[in-house]
Symmetry: C2
Subunit: 237 residues, 2 copies
């Protein structure tokens, strides 16, 4: 039998295969806290519980796994987040009561304002403080997945400015520093923080300033390279 014959007669359903779904851990920064997007499950299993936005791959609709996670996030937020990165994949016989299941997990970041209107208008999706989420009884293994996403993002806060994607397009350095501080879990030296960002030329200084009770802070915007830049030395250790 040659390959074309083999393919013509191949039946993908002949062998039992795991269920394949995708989950998105979408973070934002709002009111000095890191928040994660949770949705209330409207179907079995774990109906009524809160969990991560996600669902099965639709092999008709989606061309890639990224398509799936973007589709799921857009359903809840109305937009595509500016930062989406694969976290890891978990697959085992027990995580889903329906049977052997695999979930490909993504970490995503977005500005709060970018989708606040969409989320406030629906009752089945909510921003939840990560500290609160950590104490909730979430669906499946979603609590562990959120923990792992936070841990990874914490690492990134030490050697990149990826967390800037959790802020609006224009932001101040003290704001960005505070996002990093919340992620890392300790306060940072503002001098060190500014110095490395300036030296790597990661941000574009804007003419505008923003006042917050004291001296107005300069607004910045990320340069194109900023999302992929990694420092050779960690901050906050």
């Amino acid at each position: 039998m040659d390959e074309s014959e083999y393919l013509a007669t191949y039946d993908a359903r002949a062998f039992a295969c795991p269920l394949v779904c995708v989950d998105g851990v979408l973070f934002t920064y709002h009111e000095h806290c890191l928040k994660v997007l949770l949705v209330r499950r409207s179907a079995h299993p774990d109906m009524g519980r809160w969990g991560l936005p996600g669902g099965f791959v639709d092999i008709q609709e989606d061309r890639t796994l990224e398509d799936t996670v973007l589709r799921k996030l857009r359903e809840k937020t109305g937009v595509a987040p500016p930062y989406v990165e694969q976290l890891f994949t978990r697959g085992n016989a027990v995580r889903d009561k329906r049977g052997w299941s695999v979930t490909v997990c993504y970490t995503a970041l977005i500005a709060y304002q970018e989708c606040a209107a969409n989320i406030e208008s629906v009752s089945d999706a909510r921003w939840v403080d990560v500290l609160v989420a950590d104490g909730m009884n979430l669906a499946f293994d979603h609590r562990e997945i959120i923990s792992a996403a936070r841990a990874r993002l914490r690492q990134k806060a030490q050697y990149s400015i990826v967390p800037a994607y959790a802020l609006p397009e224009k932001f101040t350095l003290p704001e960005l520093q505070h996002v990093h501080e919340v992620l890392i879990g300790k306060s940072l030296q503002k001098k060190s923080f500014r110095r490395r960002i300036e030296q790597a030329e990661l941000l574009e200084e804007l003419a505008e300033k923003r006042s917050e009770g004291g001296r107005p802070a300069t607004l910045y915007r990320m340069r194109d390279v900023a999302g992929t830049y990694t420092f050779i030395r960690n901050i906050g250790e």
Copy 2:
């Protein structure tokens, strides 16, 4: 309908699902080169081509995805590698001619001696220099997967001593340094290399030495913590 009713009547095959397989990128270090384990495909599709060890998840046999990759690697090498880490997951409609497919990829490291006998005894598995593999026409998207695994391992060589898992239990510092040099693609200062490993107390110095034409080199063994330790500053930048 309550959850138990739902689960009792749930049919996992009712919805078309991607094929789920696992691929392992097993590296070793031998004769001053980084090698990757390739196997010759004995079945369609891409029959006859070389590719990564891997295959479908067996939902009867495997409890987790790690079980699957370990099973596949053991089939080819006879042993379980001391280092296995998930790399990423690729899933799309086109990578496998049989249809929408997802592959969960793992990077693994092992000492050459650990499985040389097993691999030499079979003709369908072979260690291939990564530079050679990069020029081969491999099955599926396996060439890209190997590239990504190398890139990730290269990063790890800069801030950890994970590459030590590609060596036997006992090894010398110049040996380890050379593995890092091959991965990073440039020579390193031996003083810098030794200094950071000594300071972090990652290795246990053994009484034995090994001679290689000049002054004998001290043998070392990894401490338990050494595999997870990360330096706060990169080497070789």
